[in-house]
Symmetry: C2
Subunit: 409 residues, 2 copies
């Protein structure tokens, strides 16, 4: 009776969507609310409609494909399709397209759901162009005011609300209208854990807390040849001291990253007068995360005093660690075991839309292995059979939730 | 009999030229061969013609105003009018406009020169958009092949030769056609020495050597949340170690600067996969400069090994320290003394067109104080009376050279 997941179709769609948004250098760059994002959304919407789903878009651009069936709150599966700069093809897209594959498999089985099923693609999960990341799901969960989110200024100076209107994805539905009975997100691990343990499935029980800050350092621009070293207020040197100093803070499970650093005026023969850098701190333990933030503040004060520069700090995002729904996590473990797939409970190192949905409904995540733990990189890769196995576990869990008359747990 | 320098006109022209090339943020940005550079050149050419000078432009865009008089090789005075990003109004422009003021003063005296006098504005002295810096004077002196210079790729991906044609300043004259009997360059000090010594005039006897290199660091882009610190190949962290490590190399008169640093992909939640930075090393002693370059190579190798990244180094410019013509330096000291202006011999910390002209003719420079030693910055300032005093010393030295039947020495 079970046709199961059509792996060929799932993989072909992953590859096709992965070609949408290639830049002149061949890099996959599908930043939120860009022209490339519009092209990806158009393709996804066509696929959702082709599967007989009703497509709805809310005011923050979250895109849903809804299988109207049964009664009560829907089961929701999904992720995002926006990408980082020079991305791989799996991150986010896999969870959305696997959700679509689950719908098609259930239809092929002739299943009549007891409740609706919704496939979601949330806006701006990556947060590369607009901050904060996971914005669409955060707004959906009521954690961020819609107007504030739409007013977000992009790294290119654009305004998110205007960009969403420009690409035709500023929808009419009020964010949060679709209140799920449960949310499941299937995702590539983006880390080395499953590969090292030779596990096929990760049942994600919790998720790291995240702290994003932007630092602006004001020094004094001056001539590189005539200014004695002792008289310099070099914003670039101050920034470098913070980057190296951060390494010392990253211990006991905390990870610290400076992903963006820009100098002004950024000229070879001018001592940098200003520097802007971002700091990304993560830890599954709130206490350690808060301690790392405090240590960063100390480092900033120490460098400002030593270098004779002024440093201002702006908080871009702050999320506490999240514990997912134990009953859903157990369902994932049981489904994996039934299919004879090695499964392990784990913590997510990355932020995901599921952590926002967890605020309003029972939520959990399913991970599949990432080769060498690489992601946010063109080398991101998960074996086809591993991708299909993950989708089949999602299928089994969703089938169980749809069959039930009430939510999980 | 001597009308002397018309200070009001000189200062008004400095201010007027200083308004050409203001960007949307009000910053003075007149990069070589840009639209702003064209506007500045057009204004200068009108002023030169207004003073009865014959305007000539060579194939690298060097702009000359020539007073055809007497016989033999001309005396040349000048500097440049291109600027850095967010520049002050004096750097370069002062030397060119003071040269024009000298011509007007000599005409007012009714002087009949024994040899021609040329006012020069050399192309791309700053080297911000195109490398190397001091390019126009270097080509004029035969130190850089014309075709190679015209093929220089700008930081914005443009080609210098095409940009010069586009702005109408790719001239027909062969570079180096005008071979001076002597070259004098009047410039703001861009350092603190004259101010600290309460000297009005610097007789510049020599000039620092300069080494410019560009480093490219190749690491591995990866997810900021899921990649353990120990497994990272963070190009940004490697760059920061080089920036801080450079401080240790900058001793005994060497100055070291990282003015430009860019990360790829430059996203908050992605470990930098690549970094490109520039290193500017200067020292008046060739031995110490070479030692600093060797120490940098050692630092680069050490960081590459420690961080697991690949680092490639590209030489952008390398000039040995320069000794100016002792007879010309003596003439400057005598002229200052005659006017009762405190004068001191000094070393130039900055690179100047004079160091290139010194390859083909007796050359020297005259400095005036820079307040707080600031330059390459909107706060760059020299008092009006100090600017006029410097121009009057230039006038006296030029008058002496023009009166002579032969070159100095």
């Amino acid at each position: 009776m079970s046709a199961g997941i059509d792996g060929r179709v799932l993989l072909a769609r992953l590859r096709e969507l992965g070609e949408v948004g290639r830049d002149a250098r061949g890099r996959l760059v599908r930043l939120a609310a860009s022209d490339a994002d519009r092209a990806g959304r158009d393709l996804l919407a066509r696929w959702l409609q082709g599967a007989g789903l009703e497509v709805a878009v809310d005011a923050i651009g979250n895109l849903f494909g809804i299988w109207q069936a049964g009664a009560g709150q829907p089961v929701m599966v999904g992720s995002h399709i926006d990408t980082v700069i020079d991305a791989g093809i799996y991150d986010g897209c896999y969870g959305v397209l696997a959700g679509l594959a689950v719908v098609e498999a259930l239809r092929a089985e002739g299943l009549v759901p007891a409740r609706p099923l919704a496939v979601a693609a949330f806006t701006n999960e990556e947060g590369v162009r607009f901050a904060p990341d996971m914005m669409g799901s955060l707004v959906h969960a009521g954690g961020l005011d819609l107007a504030e989110a739409l007013a977000s200024i992009g790294t290119d100076g654009t305004v998110l609300g205007e960009e969403l209107r420009r690409i035709g994805y500023a929808g009419s539905m009020v964010p949060g209208t679709i209140r799920p009975a449960a949310y499941l997100e299937l995702h590539v691990e983006q880390g080395p854990v499953l590969e090292q343990d030779a596990a096929a499935i990760g049942a994600v029980a919790d998720l790291q807390g995240i702290s994003w800050q932007r630092l602006r350092i004001e020094g004094r621009a001056n001539h590189a040849g005539t200014t004695p070293m002792a008289l310099r207020q070099d914003a670039g040197h101050a920034a470098a001291r913070i980057v190296t100093g951060l390494r010392a803070l990253a211990e006991g499970g905390t990870v610290a990253t400076v992903g963006s650093l820009r100098l002004e005026p950024d000229a070879i023969n001018v001592i940098p007068g200003a520097a802007v850098l971002t700091v990304d701190l993560r830890d599954p333990d709130e206490g350690r995360l808060a301690a790392a933030e405090a240590a960063l503040s100390g480092l900033v004060a120490e460098v400002a005093a030593a270098e004779g520069v002024a440093i201002t700090t702006e908080r871009l995002a702050r999320f506490q660690p999240v514990r997912f729904d134990p009953a859903l996590v157990a369902r994932i473990e049981q489904a994996a075991a039934k299919r004879g797939l090695p499964v392990r409970r784990m913590t997510s190192g990355a932020g995901h839309d599921a952590q926002m949905l967890a605020r309003i409904c029972p939520s959990a995540m399913i991970f599949v292995p990432s080769r060498d733990g690489i992601s946010h990189n063109p080398a991101e890769y998960t074996a086809p059979e591993a991708l299909v196995a993950g989708a089949e576990v999602l299928l089994d869990v969703v089938r169980g939730l749809l069959g039930a008359d009430r939510g999980p747990g």
